[in-house]
Subunit: 340 residues, 2 copies
């Protein structure tokens, strides 16, 4: 089936019309695309080492139509894939977009969603080379596959004892943004940036590329599930332990303010919230100077939050006053530190 086929489009719009209308909303041509949308397969140029990932967003599971504007759903569907390429140190290049449309979805909403995909694509130099549209009797779903170029590849599996544990940006922004989206009457300074972090995450492509170019960087992952959970993925894949120093975890003042409004410890969001799409990485000791260079190139703060230890030394959060609490995938339960 051609990448671009519609299996029964929304009523009142023909298949051909719908494809034409939607393809105009996303970048579909550019360097490296020999044959794009409209044949049985796309033909693209890639270096020998190709990155490929896919991620699906399902209404009612990953988003709610009432809570997320269609354009944000489209942006996010592409951005989460860009983040996966970024965390491997790659450059995103070509996307395929599969959409399942439920009965009654309006053409306006579908177009807004594609406009969001197009905006995220342009922001990251991605060209849409295929996909398909099908009706479904169930919820709206948006499945994006993304191809990227890799030089040196960062995986989850390279962390070694002695490495530092680092993150880009500040953490908990998306969780704070979600809280504010649900509670529009809560007023917090910096709310707009938090809402945007939740609705239109900005994957760290430049940071990922800069990190992959440095041999001192040993492993990386993007923070989608939550800092603690994603760190656990790195520890699992690398066969090591870690200590995270709570006071070093970077949290923006706006997140602290929103957490106050929510009567929450901000570290609950920073370690457990997820969907920040920052990068967590490990690097050999003495990375501080390189870190400053990466931060400059990537336009984002880079902070050391802990260190890798041998597996047998375990997984810990070093809390205030030197207390240690086990690092759990769920993140951070501030009550647990208080209890000795």
């Amino acid at each position: 089936m051609p990448p671009s086929r519609v299996d029964r489009p929304p009523r009142r719009v023909g298949e051909f019309d719908l494809i034409e209308r939607l393809r105009r909303l996303v970048p579909t041509a550019g360097p490296g695309v020999r044959t794009g949308i409209g044949d049985d397969a796309a033909v693209v140029s890639l270096p020998r080492r190709t990155l490929v990932t896919c991620d699906v967003q399902v209404e009612g599971v990953h988003f709610r139509r009432g809570m997320s504007a269609p354009g944000d759903v489209g942006w996010r569907a592409l951005a989460v894939n860009v983040s996966d390429i970024a965390s491997m140190g790659g450059a995103p290049r070509y996307a395929l977009v599969s959409v399942l449309l439920p009965p009654g979805v309006s053409l306006r909403d579908v177009e807004a969603m594609y406009r969001g995909i197009g905006q995220a694509a342009r922001a990251h130099g991605v060209i849409v080379v295929g996909g398909n549209i099908s009706r479904t009797s169930g919820p709206l779903a948006l499945d994006v596959t993304l191809l990227g170029e890799a030089g040196r590849v960062l995986t989850r599996g390279g962390a070694r004892p002695g490495d530092g544990v680092w993150v880009t940006g500040t953490l908990g922004n998306a969780a704070a943004g979600l809280f504010l989206a649900r509670r529009p009457r809560v007023r917090v300074r910096g709310a707009r940036a938090l809402l945007r972090a939740y609705r239109r995450p900005s994957p760290r492509v430049r940071a990922g590329r800069a990190l992959a170019a440095r041999s001192a960087v040993t492993a990386a992952i993007d923070i989608s599930d939550g800092t603690a959970q994603d760190l656990a993925h790195v520890l699992d894949a690398s066969g090591v332990g870690a200590v995270v120093h709570l006071e070093r975890v970077p949290v923006a003042p706006a997140v602290v303010a929103a957490a106050q409004a929510a009567h929450l410890d901000p570290y609950v969001w920073a370690l457990g919230g997820g969907e920040d799409y920052e990068l967590l990485f490990t690097a050999r000791p003495g990375f501080e100077t390189s870190a400053r260079a990466v931060a400059r190139v990537a336009g984002v703060a880079v902070t050391r939050i802990g260190e890798i230890v041998p597996r047998r030394a375990g997984r810990w959060i070093a809390g205030p006053a030197g207390r240690r609490t086990p690092l759990r995938p769920a993140g951070w339960d501030h009550l647990a530190t208080r209890a000795p």
Copy 2:
């Protein structure tokens, strides 16, 4: 998100368990796979010219769970993508499999589906390098993305007046198989092969590769929508017309017998049925000798069914006794030829 993540799996099976169980059912390692399932993205080796396609199968739209066994659904989901790579002259290599699981789907059915994916993957040398599994409140859906290697690429757009119009295999088998699947009491010699053609289509990868290697071949497409419709796609893309000679269209005796049982003209299935996943291609005049070589290499008949004419000469089916009827995407209405 990692290719392999489960967003809420079926009850009673943990996320990790489900992924582990399913990945054992499909080939996940092999030449060219540097990093497969389990990191943020897969890392694969591909030649500079890469083919990529995706195709989604949605329950209630593309299949019904009562009519298709789960293993057949899995096989088909991969096979239709393999066919898209085959029609471009490529070799299928790496797949990503996204599954949406409705409430109440059994682990047994999900495993059977993956077993079908695995069988089709092994039959065509495809390695599953990623994907994801999510729950949905709606119907089961299976979205497969397939990457392939290309040498010379066959598109829909190269047909020129004077070229022959050719097909591989015989046509209408899948439509006849669907009829037999719906009417299990109808007895026809050769029914098994027809049922298999419908349930477990065999994409023409070897034929596609052999055709792409011959410069006389000018365009190709796989027959998914129906011979007449897919030929129309080639004519649209190439800006030409065509005449198809009805008596040359290859139809298997079993299809004739099934059509008789269905009180249908077999050409209705051969030209309009679709889902045969044979190849339709165009080639410069004098291709007959090469055609025999391709047939030998690919293990499938190759038949010239018509020729390309200038656009202004139109699109025709030359019927019995020299009568011409317009070639319509819907295929063949034998009543139309009878009316002058």
